[in-house]
Amino acid sequence: MGELLIGIYVLVLSSFVGFEIINKVPPTLHTPLMSGANAISGITIVGALYAARHAEAKISVILGCVALAMATINVVGGFMVTNRMLAMFGSKKKK
């Protein structure tokens, strides 16, 4: 039960961090923020690495490989798209 309880502690406290971080966001950043947060949810890539770490072509490993590919799309695509959006705000300020 110890491990589960620690997990629940971590879950609740992290949720609060999430709630507290996002309280005042200028509308300009809503789309990039959503996109950035979405990229972070690609953290499931860690789970996918766990699932795809065997050599045999079993269903479990194939599922892991598919999960890994999808999580990587989420992570790589998500951060790149967010960066593209934010780069527009950046370039303008130098002028």
């Binding site: 589960l4 997990g7 971590v10 879950l11 992290s14 949720s15 999430g18 709630f19 971080i21 996002i22 509308p27 300009t28 950043l29 809503h30 789309t31 990039p32 959503m34 950035g36 947060a37 979405n38 990229a39 972070i40 949810s41 690609g42 953290i43 499931t44 860690v46 789970g47 996918a48 690495l49 699932a51 795809a52 065997h54 050599a55 079993k58 269903i59 490993v61 599922l63 892991g64 490989c65 999960a67 890994l68 590919a69 999808m70 999580a71 990587t72 799309i73 989420n74 790589v76 695509g77 790149m80 798209v81 960066n83 593209r84 959006m85 527009m88 705000f89 370039s91 303008k92 002028k95």
Partner: protein
């Protein structure tokens, strides 16, 4: 210190950097750095995972990572700015599906392929068994819900709400059914055939649930839906964290889950609607039979670019109101050019941004930023509304519901109570639109019938370019 300990410390550092990154993403000045920091955090998490888990073979890992990187990078590079909301929806969907697939993989790897004879709960612990099926359900709902949101946004299926009779009952049954199947699978099922059937059955039910949840929601509410699904994909990742006992997954997933929920709330407030209203009331449904919907237009005045340019020439203050039509016509650069001309002509030019203009909050800001329109000229709704009364000309470009005064006056209107940009107070309002069709909410816009409103029909980009060239002709100094 063992490799395991090092891995845990790397995870901790990764989690801290996720918090810092997310925090910085909420401020314009630090946002880009925040995104980079979050990216580094993700890289650290991957390094931690490679250290923590005994990797038997890199074969499938390499295939997955390379395929994902190529597809992700290609999609991210190619997508035009106007289609960002759709792109986010798709990324979100695959993220949710990835969590579901990890859970399925664990189910196969730990239970089915090992031909475990007892229950799942006995083999892997009750908490892992429960979070496993939750992860599958949430992941599948996120996947199919996001795909429907994508199809609605990109216009591949109708944006209007599709309301099935008894849909709440069907949804409730699907949800209860998939949870029951999950519970049975975790605590009662023994024998692999039964477990496989249950796993596939609950995946299918959850997938169907995702479709049915989003189908009845109108296209105008898709941003809220995407934000909510974004929150779900975080929750799915967090549940996966419980399945494999990984803290960095629990932390980041929970954080995204909570952040997504808050962002959803912010968007609902901007539309003056409750989340329950978005999810359960197909838009316009409650206003059915009221006087505010549909109807023919009377007394609409329209003019061409020449006439509009003459009025613009003498304007000393101009406010541009961009909407989805601007995004569709890719008119942001033309708008910038027109704005520059007007400024040269001595007018003060500002851009009024409604929080839900376009298909996603901040959509317009991103587009205008692409055209290098200075950030300081973009003004938010609450700050600009008192200014309209002292403004000579307002140019509404492809926006509709967000400038409809019916929301202030007509209690029967389905959009009654939604805060709008009060452009009707300005001296002259030009509305650039392709026709008199209604906006996403399917509501007649009473602004178009007002005496101080002039419609300029046509494609937004062409009309704006027309306005710019007319201005150059009439004011000789501007062309240079």
């Amino acid at each position: 210190m063992t490799a395991q300990d090092v891995a845990q410390l790397i995870y901790l550092l990764s989690a801290v950097l996720f918090v810092v990154g997310l925090k910085r993403l909420t401020k314009v000045r630090t946002a880009q750095a925040g995104n980079m920091i979050a990216g580094v955090a993700m890289l650290l998490a991957v390094v931690g995972a490679l250290l923590e888990y005994q990797i038997f073979s890199y074969q499938w890992i390499a295939i997955g990572i390379i395929a994902g990187t190529v597809i992700g990078a290609f999609a991210a590079q190619r997508v035009p700015m106007t289609e960002m909301p759709e792109m986010v929806a798709i990324f979100n969907g695959v993220g949710g599906a990835a969590s579901g697939c990890v859970a399925l993989s664990v189910l196969w790897g730990e239970i089915i392929e090992k031909s475990v004879t007892g229950t799942m709960a006995a083999a892997m612990g009750g908490d892992a068994a429960v979070t496993l099926f939750l992860s599958i359900i949430i992941g599948m709902v996120t996947l199919t819900g996001s795909v429907v949101a994508y199809l609605k946004l990109s216009g591949k299926i109708s944006g209007s709400p599709i309301l099935l009779p008894g849909r709440h009952l069907i949804n409730a049954l699907l949800l209860v059914g998939s949870l029951a199947a999950g519970g049975y699978m975790a605590f009662a099922s023994s024998g692999t055939d039964q477990t496989v059937t249950l796993a596939l059955g609950l995946s299918g039910a959850a997938a169907l649930l995702g479709v049915l949840l989003v189908i009845p929601i109108g296209g105008a509410d898709m941003p809220v839906v995407i934000s909510l699904l974004n929150s779900y994909s975080g929750v799915a990742a967090s549940a996966t964290g419980f399945v494999i006992g990984n803290k960095v997954l629990i932390i980041s997933g929970a954080m995204v889950g909570a952040a997504g929920l808050i962002l959803t709330q912010i968007m609902c407030v901007a539309m003056n609607r409750s989340l329950a209203n978005v999810i359960f009331g197909g838009f316009g449904e409650e206003g059915g039979g009221g006087g505010g919907k549909g109807g023919e237009y009377e007394n609409v005045t329209s003019c061409g670019p020449e006439e509009a340019a003459m009025i613009l020439e003498n304007a000393s203050s101009v406010i541009v109101v961009p909407g989805y039509g601007l995004a569709v016509a890719q008119a942001q650069h033309a708008v910038r050019e027109l704005g520059d001309l007007l400024e040269k002509n001595g007018a003060e030019v500002r851009y009024a941004i409604h929080p839900v203009a376009g298909r996603m909050p901040g959509h317009m800001n991103v587009l205008l930023a692409e055209a290098d329109i200075p950030y300081e000229q973009l003004v938010e709704m609450d700050d600009i509304n008192p200014e309209f009364a002292q403004t000579d000309v307002v140019i509404v470009i492809g926006a509709n519901d967000v400038v409809n005064p019916a929301s202030l006056t007509d209690k029967e209107s389905p959009i009654y109570g939604m805060p709008i940009l009060e452009v009707h107070h300005a001296q002259t309002v030009f509305v650039i639109k392709r026709g008199l069709g209604s906006g996403f909410a399917g509501v007649k816009n009473v602004l178009f019938e007002r005496d101080n409103t002039m419609m300029v029909f046509g494609d937004a980009k062409k009309v704006i370019q027309g306005l710019a060239s007319e201005l150059k002709e009439t004011v000789p100094g501007l062309a240079a």
